[in-house]
């Protein structure tokens, strides 16, 4: 038990030191990278580690005869969460979202300190002490608060009122609702029933199991399966079309979506928001192939209002590519990222 707790204490101390380093810019916040696509899980995992670590730390300090008052534990933990959200996570979380998380964690901290009557008493004891101002120290504190609180609150409100030119926050619907059907190059495609004509096996038959079996391997690198090289000249069916789709991708799409389909292409730095990252499980992995077909064909100009159409420079690809080319590119994108398109059933 003791060993476990001291291990926890160590984790807690390291966590506090790391975060401190990030706040003062000694440790770059990219030291332990948040892996694209797994960010929420990673954050939850890290925070769980910290909670366990702090529990161990508090236990150890108790055992060493230096108990840490419940009051400061509560405040300290809340401050830790706020700082963690602000300094650990990159790209930065907008203030409004952080404020939401902050409120939720404040409520959680209150629930924790008021779990029982006794805990609650322990928690509010320091506040009461200052209010009563029995000892000299508490008297001093009371006067300090009397003067500092109005100044601080006045200062904050001044800060909030001074006109500022901060970038307005624009939350945008990433996957707006698609239409029932879309007309591309004179032909109407019903999104519910259309299929990618190139998702075929070696015999040329539509075959999802076959194509899903030949995508790249998930895991670091996302490399092709050893016996499924799209550059093999003997390929027929799916892999041949993957290669053709890749050629179109690298002649048209990589400028924005990047050589690794992660939205970090040559021109990406100039755009806001930066282009979609297909390797993120929140993009094409969440969508049906026909949805992608509609988005690719119609581009930013074809988005409905909730998608805030004019913030997207996505070309309406029907102006540049044929229907066959669009389907092949979509095939390639799923192959290269190692995801399956969602299906209607």
């Amino acid at each position: 038990m003791k060993a476990l707790m001291s291990l926890g204490a160590l984790v807690g101390v390291i966590g506090i030191l790391l975060l401190g380093g990030m706040i003062f810019n000694v440790v770059p916040s990219t030291t332990v990278r948040l892996v694209e696509g797994y960010m929420p899980m990673q954050m939850l995992f890290e925070l769980t580690c910290f909670v366990a670590g702090f529990a161990g730390l508090s236990y150890m300090m108790n055992a060493m005869g230096m108990p840490f008052p419940r009051f400061w534990q509560g405040i300290g933990f809340w401050a830790f969460i706020l700082l963690y959200l602000k300094y650990r996570v990159y790209p930065p979380i907008p203030f409004s979202v952080r404020a939401m998380y902050g409120t939720v964690s404040l409520v959680a901290v209150f629930m924790w300190v008021s779990a029982s009557e006794e805990d609650w008493k322990k928690f509010k004891q320091p506040i009461m002490n200052v209010l009563d101002a029995q000892g000299g120290m508490n008297k001093l504190l009371r006067y300090a608060y009397l003067v500092l609180l109005p100044i601080l609150i006045g200062g904050f409100s001044y800060n909030a009122m001074v006109p500022k030119s901060e970038e307005p926050i624009e939350l945008r619907t990433v996957h707006p609702a698609p239409p029932a059907s879309t007309k591309v190059h004179g032909k109407t495609y019903t999104l519910q029933t259309s299929q990618n004509p190139y998702r075929v096996n070696q015999e040329g038959k539509y075959d999802q199991d076959y194509t899903n079996a030949n995508i790249v391997e998930q895991g670091m690198g996302r490399l092709m399966k050893p016996n499924a090289n799209p550059w093999d000249d003997k390929n027929k069916g799916y892999l041949k079309y993957v290669r053709e789709g890749g050629e179109i991708f690298f002649q048209n799409c990589h400028f924005c979506h990047g050589d690794n389909l992660n939205g970090r292409g040559l021109h990406a730095f100039a755009f806001n928001p930066i282009p979609a990252n297909f390797t993120d499980p929140g993009t094409i992995a969440q969508l049906q192939e026909t949805f992608i077909f509609w988005r690719v064909s119609k581009g930013g100009i074809g988005l409905p209002n909730e998608g805030f159409p004019w913030a997207s420079v996505m070309p309406p690809w029907e102006q540049h590519l044929t229907v066959d080319e669009i389907w092949k590119v979509i095939l390639f994108e799923y192959w290269h990222t190692g995801y399956y398109p969602r299906t209607w059933d």
């Binding site: 307005p168 690198g221 550059w231 050589d259 581009g299 100009i301 913030a311």
Partner: protein, 590 residues
């Protein structure tokens, strides 16, 4: 006691003398070998294992083949629309190295150590300013070493990394050379040396890469441009650490193989090289306080602030850039990408950023736009289309042409049009629900048009109304009289353009055509830029994302009054809490 101190001092002096002796001796040995200062002989790395090579083939055919091609000749499907073209591995010519000019770069499949493995670092950090991305976080260290094992043994065909007969390794000992502090004196000497060593002949008098911008060719005969020292984040060898002076020192010491950039190791001392590196590094853009710009880890370019603030000026807005109010005005980095939404798409945009400042008074708003352009381009004779024409006959690059017809081969061979810049703002922006804007490319439709103010290098300043990406502009003739070109100058590779336009009011302007600038409001603004030597015209141009012009309001009185009122309120609240608590303790309740 005294005795022992003097003895220690004596020993120390002898030791120091000895160190000097030994080091000068080793220096003379090095010179005897004919090695330039700061270099040491290195050993060729052993051949990577067959398993590594085989595993690397799998990485190559998943990730690299699309640009570098099946035989590594830099002719993959993506190559013809790229400039610079993807590297042709066959000749074994690699740009960023620690090895002497002409030698193969450092590569050891077992040592992924920074400073000792050039190719590994190139794959890890990418080559900014080209399409080569950073593969860190995408491929594991092992996978990066594997793919390089494959490339160096199978795709480099004319040379062999392990051939002791023909290959040598003379390695720059960058880790052992202590950087010289970037003092004013060192930078000054560096500034003199870049003239003396003729760096400025290619890189230009101000280092904007405008010196010999047309005639430089790489080993494969493609046009190549000298680096712009003011954009260190675009240095190919910046290794995601652009303000690190060591990168410049290394490139300057070893040269860039396959390009006209030579190594200066033989005709400069290490000390001189540090001076030059310090000087070049000092030219890279910095903030108002002289600190390096914050680099966005998502893009490896300077962080973008999408608000262009405009400060209030009493009376006339000065036309002199050196005036104090202009120096105080915050400068914004506006990133520019190619227009690749509609035909003709601009795959290679040679203008990749603009620096914008703005000031306003009660009548007008002035934008000061500065951007690096290696060539001043003014079309000869009359352009074959009207200024309002949008759908003009400019061809976009075909996807598959082979090397001769590729976009790289076209560089510096385009018909020259005018350099130009335009500011597009939304008309009737207040009627649009907040985040919705007109379309970035020349507006949405007749209902929500845009106001376009365009300056061209022939000295013209025109105003148009845009109603859609494929609609020709509509002229707004009497508006142009109310605008003013305060400056339009090209000097040493940089344009300086100052445009004044009315802020607009309902009396003498057209609400349906002109943007009304209101103090304290976010006015959607887009910037367009054309490089005449890139054949840019019509929709072939560089574009920015949506920025906001924000005219900073003077601070209102309420800002001072309300906080004071709130503070007094807090004091009263405190009094109430304390009295209540005291009463409660005494057993009384209010």
């Amino acid at each position: 006691m005294m005795d022992s101190i003097t003895r220690k001092a004596g020993i120390a002096a002898v030791a120091a003398f000895g160190v000097v002796l030994v080091s000068s001796a080793s220096y003379s040995i090095v010179s005897a070998q004919g090695l330039p200062e700061g270099f040491k002989k290195g050993d060729l790395a052993p051949e990577p294992s067959a398993e590594m090579i085989e595993a690397g083939k799998r990485v190559y055919f998943t990730k690299c083949v699309w640009c570098h091609g099946v035989d590594g000749a830099g002719d993959g499907p993506g190559a013809d629309r790229l400039w610079p073209r993807p590297r042709n591995f066959n000749q074994g010519t690699f740009k960023i190295r620690h090895t002497a000019s002409g030698e193969l770069p450092l590569f050891d499949a077992k040592k992924p150590i920074p400073g000792q493995n050039d190719l590994f670092e190139t794959v890890t950090h990418g080559l900014p300013g080209s399409a080569m991305p950073s593969w860190e976080g995408i491929l594991t260290e092992e996978q990066r070493l594997q793919v390089l094992s494959f490339v160096t043994t199978q795709l480099v065909k004319d040379r062999k990394f392990t051939d002791k007969q023909s290959e040598t390794q003379t390695v720059l000992q960058l880790a052992e050379l202590k950087a010289k502090p970037a003092t004013d004196e060192s930078k000054k000497r560096g500034g003199e040396l870049v003239v003396e060593k003729k760096c400025v002949e290619c890189h230009g008098m101000e280092g904007r890469g405008d010196g010999n911008a047309f005639n430089l060719k790489d080993d494969w005969g493609f046009s190549i441009q000298p680096a712009d020292w003011h954009k260190c984040w675009n240095f190919r060898g910046s290794r995601q650490d652009p303000y690190n002076v060591g990168n410049i020192f290394r490139t300057f010491s070893t040269g860039v193989n396959g390009t006209p950039m030579p190594s200066f190791a033989d005709n400069t001392t290490v000390d001189e090289r540090w001076d030059i590196a310090n000087f070049v590094n000092s030219l890279c853009e910095r903030d108002a306080l002289g600190n390096p710009l914050p680099i966005d880890p998502l893009t490896d370019k300077p962080k973008i602030n999408f608000v262009v603030p405009s400060d209030l000026v009493e009376g006339e807005i000065p036309t002199d850039m050196e005036h104090e109010v202009w120096k105080k005005a915050p400068k914004r980095y506006v990133a520019m990408g190619g227009q690749i939404t509609h035909k003709p798409r601009n795959f290679v945009n040679r203008i990749d950023d603009i620096w914008v400042r703005s000031l306003y008074n009660d009548k007008s708003i002035v934008y000061l736009l500065e951007w690096d352009d290696r060539t001043k381009s003014v079309a000869e004779g009359k352009l074959p289309w009207a200024p309002t024409q949008v759908n003009i006959d400019v061809k976009e690059q075909d996807p598959k042409t082979g090397e001769e017809g590729s976009i790289a081969a076209h560089q510096n061979n385009y018909t020259v049009y005018n350099d130009a810049i335009a500011i597009e703002t939304a008309v009737k922006w207040k009627e649009l629900p907040a985040p919705i804007k007109p379309r970035y490319l020349f507006g949405s439709n007749d209902q929500f048009p845009v106001d376009i103010v365009k300056w061209e290098a022939d000295g013209s300043l025109r105003a148009f109304k845009g109603t859609g990406w494929d609609k020709d502009f509509e002229e707004r003739d009497n508006y142009e009289e109310s605008m003013k070109l305060l400056k339009g100058e090209w000097k040493d590779g940089r344009w300086y353009v100052m445009i004044q336009r009315p802020v607009g009011n309902k009396k003498d302007q057209d609400y349906d055509e002109d943007t009304f600038f209101e103090v304290g409001q976010y006015i959607p603004t887009v910037f367009f830029a054309w490089d005449g030597h890139n054949g840019d015209a019509g929709r072939k141009m560089a574009v920015s994302a949506f920025f906001y012009t924000f005219m900073n309001p003077p601070i209102p009185k309420e800002t001072y009054i309300y906080p004071a009122v709130i503070a007094v309120g807090v004091v009263l609240l405190e009094g109430w809490v304390l009295t209540r608590r005291a009463n409660k303790k005494r057993g009384k309740t209010l």
